[in-house]
């Protein structure tokens, strides 16, 4: 447990409350896995159109689909069997950590996910890091002088960026950095440069929110009695900020990151499709089009679990940042 070294002064206090938190998250993960799987199963089964035709089109291309191809797919995958049986079969496999095979490629779902998850996680981590570099510093600066020029300008910029859908932000970035300036590749993968625009697309909207949260937190801190007292006791504005401002303002920013992960996960689907990034969001879109049920369930499951895992990480960081939580 390397995390214990985070707060050397009070290891036992850091540990207290941690077990409950982790247990609760573990239970949540199980619940999410079951609910996501069930929901995707019900939704894909109730989508209009004949699944067998969809799967045949996904496998052999639209030009090759006729009722004979659809019937052979139906027979091979036993699609005419009652849905309930298929559902319990899936649940039983899931309990044994078996996600099945893709109906289109025939490869085990877990292999495909492993490959794609790496690409998506790379993108997500880079987006969060970029957003933390862009958003909170700007917010903290703005929050130290509420209603100042920087505060006003950054508020407008943040509203615009958050209101634009990631698809539009991505297109604008391609137009600027690839077409007009020629600095970065428009789409694709393989080199580091390829990841800059997609992660920046995600980061801008994340930064828009985190800068405002940081700004509000900082504004609140800078108007608080303890902050005024730090000045009174003779600390300069730099030391006051570092010792009393930063940690207090960081708490809501980190806590809010948890909420923003929803945006990140939904943004990944759009951004990966736009930038031809071979991640899990891209795979989800294709799996839905081809009615590749095990792939849909697998990707949705991983996304759901990722959400729980990221929120757990946020909890852990808050737990470490905020000594008050450890007593409760």
């Amino acid at each position: 447990m390397t995390s214990l070294t985070l707060s050397r002064s009070s290891p036992s206090r850091w540990r207290s409350g941690l077990r409950g938190l982790l247990l609760q998250r573990l239970f949540q993960a199980g619940l999410v896995a079951w609910m996501v799987g069930t929901l995707t199963f019900v939704l894909t089964r109730t989508l209009p159109g004949d699944m067998a035709y969809r799967i045949a089109a996904g496998r052999y291309g639209h030009d090759m689909v006729d009722s004979a191809a659809a019937e052979s797919v139906r027979a091979e995958l036993a699609l005419d069997q009652p849905a309930l049986g298929a559902y319990f079969g899936w649940l039983w496999d899931l309990l044994q950590l078996d996600l099945g095979r893709s109906l289109v490629s025939g490869e085990p779902v877990i292999h495909e996910l492993w490959h794609q998850l790496g690409h998506s996680l790379g993108l997500a981590v880079m987006a969060v890091l970029l957003s933390l570099l862009l958003g909170p510093p700007l917010g903290l600066l703005a929050g130290r002088k509420p209603a100042g020029t920087l505060d006003r300008v950054s508020e407008v910029a943040a509203s615009v960026l958050r209101a634009l859908p990631p698809f539009a932000v991505g297109l604008l970035l391609i137009l600027l950095f690839s077409v007009a300036l020629g600095w970065l590749p428009a789409a694709g993968h393989g080199r580091f440069a390829h990841s800059v625009l997609p992660s920046l697309t995600l980061a801008l909207a994340l930064a828009a929110v985190s800068s405002r949260v940081a700004r509000n937190a900082m504004a609140e801190v800078s108007q608080s009695a303890y902050y005024a007292f730090s000045h009174t006791k003779g600390l300069g504005s730099r030391l006051s900020f570092l010792r009393h401002g930063l940690r207090n303002a960081a708490l809501p920013v980190v806590a809010y990151l948890g909420v923003q992960f929803v945006y990140l996960i939904e943004g990944v689907v759009v951004v990966e499709t736009l930038f031809a990034w071979p991640g899990i969001g891209h795979a989800l879109v294709h799996a839905i089009v081809a009615r590749d049920v095990p792939m849909i369930q697998g990707t949705a499951l991983v996304m759901g679990l990722m959400f729980v895992a990221l929120n757990t990480a946020v909890d852990l960081i808050c737990h470490w940042l905020d000594p008050r939580r450890r007593e409760t």
Partner: protein, 510 residues
């Protein structure tokens, strides 16, 4: 003292490979189609188009079967066995020679998987006396055309594992697969021991990009040298870009109206002709598809050789004649403008689907154009499967779909599926419904077994003419393949059969 000179020399030597590398530039192709894996049965098309894999039979400039890996072929007098003679100087990418045994084995794998060969009456594929021999249980003249399909790429024996799964792509083309990252990317390099003329470009890559906007922007930012399939809005913008040349070519994929000829309103061929005459094909092609040359007055475009009749799309519309034809059948305009016969309004439902985004648009254009004629058309946009299922249960009235007649260089296979050679049971999921024509069935049956080129060419014309007259399916428009190509490339052309990107004909401009 010497150190700076040495440094200078080292720098100079360091630069040398860079100047040499200018010729090793990678040619980057971007297209919407994903790579499912290594197996030709699912991804053969991309390996064939990129010049990595080859088939026994190739196509010539007129779209007719020509020598590929097989230099020549003959059919036995009983029409039941075909012998393909292989080129003798062909090496696989692993250095092993192409033998009849290797080719027969590879074709046998292809035959056992879903693809083109399972529609042929094949009994066995064998290697005999250095030739690949197909034994059939009935005569089948279009066999060479099927062997031009990308699901029949010839791979080396070592490409397969015991279960017949492709483990490594060891093929024979002018380019060799260097890396593959499904579902999106592959790279290839020139194969120096290629049997034919060596291509000028040494490195290539393929990237699958699903979104049209992204593809267009990649062409504009020069991230890609060739971008296939441009959406209409982007195409107009790219045409103004001096660094790009835009190419378009009609494909043998036709937007067709499948007509239930068993329906009481549509069982007379004059009714189907009237509906066809009321379609403003040029308007649809120019206004919706943004390609005036997409207007299709017949099913088969020029790429299909003898099947193409050369009709003028501008003359395919004649509203007056359409009204006369319907009046002859007792239809009279009612007060609301809708035609009526025995009190019954001329009302039909057209099913289509949105997988191909232009289909619903074309459907609503037809709705509007037929209103002029007095036909009240409901458009139902659903799933692609509703057309075949409506065919099977007889509930379909009209269906709007896209049909590819050029899967192989001969549309016969598709036509046999769509119209059939059994006069008592003509029709197919994407073809005729409730329609029969004994004479046409006979022609198709002859085409199935007769290998005489003159007879085949003559019959092809007859079939096309009859289909155009009786209209069991009504042609509306041809799809266009479009491409944006950087002006730094020379020698680009589009293969209308989409078998190849013709990368071996390209070179960098000086």
């Amino acid at each position: 003292m010497l150190a700076p000179r040495r440094l200078g020399l080292a720098l100079l030597l360091g630069l040398l490979p860079l100047t040499a590398a200018a010729d090793d530039r990678s040619l980057d192709v971007v297209a919407p189609w994903e790579i499912t894996g290594l197996d030709p049965s699912t991804s053969g098309y991309v390996f064939a188009r990129m010049g990595i894999g080859e088939t026994l039979v190739d196509t010539d400039a007129e779209g007719q079967p020509s020598a590929g890996l097989a230099s020549d072929w003959q059919v036995a007098d009983d029409d039941l066995s075909w012998r393909f003679t292989l080129r003798d100087d062909v090496l696989f990418h692993d250095g092993s020679p192409l033998s009849a045994e290797a080719a027969a084995k590879s074709l046998e794998h292809a035959w056992r998987k879903p693809g083109m060969l399972d529609s042929a009456p094949i009994e066995a594929i064998e290697a005999e006396d250095g030739e690949v021999v197909f034994h059939l249980h009935e005569a089948f003249a279009p066999l060479p055309a099927l062997l031009a399909h990308s699901t029949t790429l010839i791979l080396a024996p070592d490409a397969y594992d015991e279960s017949g799964t492709v483990r490594e792509l060891i093929a024979t083309g002018p380019y060799r697969l260097a890396s593959l990252a499904p579902p999106q990317r592959l790279t290839a390099e020139r194969f120096d021991d290629y049997w034919g003329e060596a291509p000028a470009i040494t490195q290539t890559s393929y990237l699958a990009v699903g979104r049209g906007e992204t593809r267009a922007l990649m062409a504009e930012s020069r991230d890609a040298d060739i971008v296939f399939t441009l959406d209409p809005a982007s195409r107009a913008r790219l045409m103004r870009n001096a660094q790009l040349s835009i190419h378009a070519e009609p494909l043998p994929r036709t937007i067709v109206l499948k007509v239930n000829a068993g329906h009481p309103f549509l069982d007379d061929q004059r009714a189907r002709q009237a509906l066809s005459l009321a379609i403003d094909r040029s308007g649809i092609a120019t206004g919706l598809l943004r390609h005036p040359e997409a207007a299709a007055a017949e099913l088969f475009p020029e790429a299909l050789g003898p099947w193409h009749l050369g009709l003028d799309a501008g003359e395919s519309q004649d509203l007056e004649r359409a009204r006369e034809l319907l009046a002859e059948q007792g239809w009279e305009a009612g007060d609301d403008g809708v035609l009526r016969r025995d009190g019954e309004p001329f009302q039909l439902t057209l099913r289509t689907f949105s997988d191909r985004p232009e289909l619903p648009l074309v459907a609503t254009a037809l709705q509007d154009q037929w209103r002029e004629l007095g036909v009240d058309l409901n458009v139902a946009v659903g799933n692609a499967s509703e057309i075949p299922s409506g065919h099977q249960d007889g509930s379909l009235e009209l269906g709007l779909a896209a049909r590819n007649y050029g899967l192989v260089p001969n549309p016969l296979g598709t036509l046999l599926d769509d119209f059939g050679s059994d006069p008592d049971d003509m029709g197919g999921d994407w073809g005729a419904m409730g329609w029969s024509d004994a004479e046409l069935a006979g022609w198709l049956a002859t085409l199935r077994h007769d290998t005489d080129p003159e007879v085949r060419s003559e019959l092809a014309g007859r079939v096309a003419t009859r289909l155009n007259q009786a209209m069991p399916v009504i042609p509306v428009a041809w799809y266009q393949q479009t491409a944006a190509v950087g002006t730094h490339l020379q020698g680009f052309s589009i293969d209308p059969l989409e078998r190849s990107y013709r990368l071996d004909e390209l070179r960098w401009a000086e």
